[in-house]
Symmetry: C2
Subunit: 129 residues, 2 copies
Amino acid sequence: MDISTREMSLTVGEAAERVGLTTYTLRWYEQEGLVGRVGRDSSGRRRYTESDVNWLFLLTRLRRTGMPVRDMRRYAELARHGDSTLGARRALFEAHRARVLARMAELSEDLKVLEYKIDAYRRAEEESG
Amino acid sequence: MDISTREMSLTVGEAAERVGLTTYTLRWYEQEGLVGRVGRDSSGRRRYTESDVNWLFLLTRLRRTGMPVRDMRRYAELARHGDSTLGARRALFEAHRARVLARMAELSEDLKVLEYKIDAYRRAEEESG
DNA sequence: ACTTGACTTCGAGCGTGCTCGAACTGGAAG
DNA sequence: CTTCCAGTTCGAGCACGCTCGAAGTCAAGT
């Protein structure tokens, strides 16, 4: 368990692959302040640490649940300001959780409409085909 | 139960309000072929029938479940071609249902991440707040 | 008769979230 | 040493789904 196995650092391409985003997007996220300035190596190339990757992963989940980039940026800013923002970050997540739950409820409703139509088509097909 | 109670027809504004879209969007949907050409009155104004409104309602559900406009157009085209496309329409809905279910599963997973973070924040707040 | 306000068509513009091309740099493999 | 590939920055461009402004029409209310 030496230092080299504990200190991983990935290029933008490797990081992109791990988190399922493109290199374009990773650079853009940084530019947009969704990620703090990523470390660079001696020749100016980005080096993503494990915690950078974990952060990016979290961002992908937030994004996938429909959180706007604007809110993700706000969250990133809070995170950069340390422990004094823990409450605010929790509040942000709780509010977002509520939106996700509402969205899921909406999808369940919409699913019923889909089921209804599928059934109606099935019946119509039997009748006329 | 006279004809006037059975034959409703709404202006674009009324229809928009009922289905929760704007008048802009309703006209645009028509232009994009998501809705067949809506009837006009003697002075060229749109008159939405009950079945137009039902159709629009269905479109709002498809839209809300994330169906792209392109696919909604394809569906509308199928519907305009009558009963011979019942099977295709059902297939389209079944495929879409699968996507919605997958999306819901994804959201459940993402929700776990949110819960986990909320909990972590709560613990961190207790510890340092 | 006049005003109001919702309607018409048309094409342009916008917000979001990337996505890409251009021009360049630097390390590694053959 | 050259070739190659992945990286850099910058600003422009794109796909999607609307959204709106302009200029005009028409019917109803005062």
